[in-house]
């Protein structure tokens, strides 16, 4: 247990990307207020605050999972399975992991960042995020199925099955081209 402590990226609560979204949101909120009136404005606010309270426990659980995974996951295992040298198998393993990880972006991005910090390669990390996005059962079952119905969801998922691997392969060659390393300075 003498592994060096992890160098995790410091996270600021406010930065330029947040500021950009804040400006967009405030603009949209003002536009809705002016166009549709106060009732509609409050209606949206109430339903979105309810949604926010609903996802808060998920955020906390996901951050804890990511934090525990970062200290518990044996680094050699990660390196062997999904490290930079893991090749095509690493992409397949990462794709399967993306399918089974529960939750939303709240879960997947902290976990992906944790895996990256303990040595996962660029290709597998991106295959993981892409697989979660396109194939994650949570979103498909809770949201997509009620909207689109089973036939659409099943066919869309089947078509999407190989695509995380495509994204992983592409990402790996792009990373080689532009010299991006997993540690990823900004």
């Amino acid at each position: 247990m003498s592994e060096p402590p992890l160098q995790r990226r410091p996270r600021r609560s406010l930065d330029w990307s947040t500021a950009f979204i804040a400006v967009t949101v405030i603009g949209a909120a003002i536009a809705v207020y002016v166009r549709d009136g106060q009732t509609r404005f409050l209606e949206i606010l109430v339903s979105d605050v309810a949604l926010f309270l609903d996802i808060l426990p998920k955020v906390l659980a996901a951050c804890l999972i990511a934090s525990f995974v970062a200290v518990l996951m044996p680094r050699e295992t990660v390196l062997r399975w999904v490290g930079a040298e893991s090749g095509f198998m690493g992409l397949i393993i990462a794709t399967m992991a993306g399918i089974i990880v529960p939750g939303g972006p709240i879960t997947v991005f902290p976990i992906a960042a944790a895996f990256l910090a303990i040595g996962a390669g660029i290709g597998p990390t991106i295959a993981f995020v892409t697989s979660w996005t396109l194939l994650g059962y949570g979103r498909a079952l809770i949201w997509e199925l009620p909207f689109f119905g089973p036939e659409f969801v099943v066919w869309r998922s089947l078509i999407a099955l190989p695509l995380p691997i495509v994204a992983g392969l592409l990402a790996r060659s792009l990373a080689g081209l532009f010299g991006v390393r997993p540690g990823g300075g900004t």
Binding site: M1, R11, R12, S13, S17, T18, F20, I21, T24, V25, A28, V32, D36, I44, L45, D48, F52, D54, P57, K58, V59, L60, A61, C63, L64, I65, A66, S67, F68, V71, L72, P102, G103, I106, F109, P110, A113, L116, I126, V129, T130, T133, L134, L141, I142, W143, E144, F147, F148, V154, W155, R156, I159, A160, V166, A171, V180, G183, G184, T186
Partner: protein, 164 residues
Amino acid sequence: MNLFVDLLLWAIAIVLAVIAGRRSHTLLRTSTREGVMDCVRLIPRIMLGVIGAGYIAALLPQETVGRWLGADSGFAGLAIATLGGFVTPGGPVIGFSIGVAALKGGAGAPQVIAYTTAWALFAFQRLFIWELGVMPPRLVWLRVAASLPIPFLAALGAMLIGRP
């Protein structure tokens, strides 16, 4: 289903906490504190993302979206669909509800698949709120670049198979 995801997440977190606690109490304490602090730092972003999505969605012209993505719109339709996915806010529902509205309004299934796929992959708001907050920025843009062909490939797959 929502409750199921909650329970599953917390079950995983608790199992991991027990494993960490068995290894050492200090490890459990420090990693718990770090996890909680991460969550606290994410809260302002999440509030913006969730509460903002409703207002942005209220301003989107849904019928127009449907008209642009007709079954005969071809490659241009796919390109518009992909761009549309990028500018649609990233809440859990918005992309799907617009996709269904488009499908009902006469959009082709491949175009709608391109749209929801692009939205799932790189809705700008999810990108800014969730991903850039947590992942190294260069890697985020690398992922977006590597994902650019994916909506087209998904639509092409749907065209070749002739389904859904």
